[in-house]
């Protein structure tokens, strides 16, 4: 090798990229596999996609989709997220009693399978307590002991009626979800730099306000992605509502039609397509949520007019 003389000054670079023959081979194999799959869809009459689409739009299926699956997911996640954030805050409290409550809650609801929890709510609780009175603790005992006519009961819940409703199922799934969300929220809160809470405190904010205004909005950046995961998992877990039993739910309805009409596989395909569609919509929603809570982070200036000055260091 000789170092060329400086008389011949090199110009712009026009170099060939590194060859990747493996990629082309892999692409060819995948194209062939997809072609085989499509051909089997077309040539195997048992797939019967037209029947699957018919099942998808039947009234009981749509009703199950909207009530049990969509409303169920939204309701359970609302309870789960609010409950989870509260339990996470309790867990990080300086009060040992609150920390203990939070720990026991998470231990219990994370420990039992949702199927078992829902079955218990559906049949077990109503057997133990057929009705629940809301009033002064031990009010009824005191009233009978003192011979009073007022028994300090303000409101009575008929558990046997309540426990088989969709609301009971939503509450059950939500309570279980709160235990998982608590861990996610805790990780999010702990991810926020301690200096943020200190700066808020130094400005005279109370701890609660600092949590709401400063720490939680920043924690959301860490909380949102795994919460999207949880929400998509929850869509699928609404199929467990049949343990309550609640039958206005997507999978129960589609498989019921499948069993009745012997179109077993088309019915499963109908459910699968619906689940995939919901999941896709949720991923779009998650993208926008992540963008919203990513404000001020990342390198892209949100406002073009205030582009980062060249050479400026960020923290």
């Amino acid at each position: 090798m000789t170092t060329p003389s400086t008389d011949d000054r090199p110009g712009l670079i026009d170099a060939r990229p590194v060859p990747h023959p493996g990629r082309w081979v892999a692409l060819a194999i995948i194209v062939i596999l997809i072609a085989m799959m499509i051909s089997s869809f077309i040539t195997n009459p048992r797939w019967d996609f037209s029947k699957a689409f018919e099942i998808m739009v039947q009234t009981p299926v749509l009703e199950g989709l909207v009530k049990g699956t969509i409303v169920g997911t939204i309701g359970a996640m609302v309870i789960g997220i609010i409950g989870g954030v509260i339990i996470a805050i309790l867990r990080l409290s300086t009060n040992p009693v609150l920390r203990g409550v939070s720990f026991v809650y998470t231990w219990f609801f994370r420990g039992i399978p949702r199927l078992v929890l829902l079955a218990m709510i559906g049949s077990g609780i109503g057997f133990l307590y057929s009705k629940v009175d809301f009033g002064v603790p031990f009010g009824q005992q005191f009233a009978s002991w003192l011979g009073l006519s007022q028994d300090f009961t303000f409101f009575t819940l008929n558990v046997n009626q309540f426990s088989s409703t969709l609301l009971a199922g939503i509450v059950g799934l939500g309570l279980s979800e709160a235990a998982y969300m608590a861990e996610i929220a805790r990780a999010g809160i702990l991810s926020v730099d301690k200096g943020q809470a200190e700066a808020a405190a130094a400005l005279g904010m109370s701890r609660g306000r600092a949590m709401r205004r400063i720490v939680l909005p920043q924690a959301m950046r860490v909380i949102v992605p795994p919460t999207g995961n949880e929400a998509i998992a929850m869509v699928k877990d609404t199929s467990l509502l049949s343990a309550i039993p609640i039958i206005t739910e997507l999978f129960y309805q589609t498989s019921a039609i499948g069993n009745r009409t012997l179109l077993i596989m088309p019915a499963f395909v109908a459910a699968t397509v619906w689940y995939l569609l919901i999941g896709s919509v949720m991923m779009v929603g998650q993208y926008f949520l992540e963008k919203r809570f990513g404000r001020g982070f990342g390198t892209k200036p949100t406002n073009k007019r205030f582009a980062r000055p060249a050479g400026a260091g960020g923290a």
């Binding site: 700066a199 400005l203 005279g204 001020g296 205030f306 400026a312 923290a315």
Partner: protein
Amino acid sequence: MTVSDSTRTGDDQPLVRALNVMKSFHGNEVLKGIDLDVQRGQVVCLLGPSGSGKTTFLRCINQLESIDGGRIWVDGDLVGFRDDGGQLHHLSDKQVAAQRREIGMVFQRFNLFPHMTALENICEAPIQVRGTDKKQARERALDLLRQVGLGDKPAAYPAQLSGGQQQRVAIARALAMDPKLMLFDEPTSALDPELVGDVLKVMRDLADQGMTMIVVTHEMGFARDVADHVVFMDGGVVVEQGSPADVINNPQHERTRSFLKRMRTEDEEAAADAAAADAAADAEA
């Protein structure tokens, strides 16, 4: 809140009085009885090697750290406690927050709220804590931004600002609460050398306007020119204090002398580095 006559502060009395302040972390004594008076309108610089307790002492004044012994008064109010005939009672979170409202603090790492624009950072506490009208808070925030030389950056997020700009927003944020006292915890230590000047200028202006300031710093030039009173700390005690002329130019204690000598060498090295970098940049251009 009343205090005994010896510590009652009128206009001629110190704004901050610290007596025998002690603090330990896990049995490690960080402050071993600090005494300090800060008069209204005074700028006091705390100097000393790292680990000398100066930052801890500063944080004790607005209760980011609790003290184990001694007392601190700010404007006549006992910090962190209620004195009930000699028996101290801890203040509630709400009362602590109320005391902190009167004290502005600027941190080494700026600690701006990254999810808010510069303007929102400054408006946040006045609106949320003082209940100031939104429009009024905005006007005042824009004024403060102009005052720190960032009148064109209200909509910038902290990540879009340089360190020096962030620190100036942080100063404006603290000023928005109209504090009686400003605490600065090594405000220029995290900055690139060429950005230090802008921040120090804002602090000089503030001192000229008569703000009472306690500044933990390694900027000897600032301490010499701006401070009314310089305190040299080492090993959790005040080694010596007095006017900048006395402490910086004519130190009495060996520990002060060796620290200042070290700082001077570092300053010279930094100056030499900066000069070399400038020369290199010139050569490139």
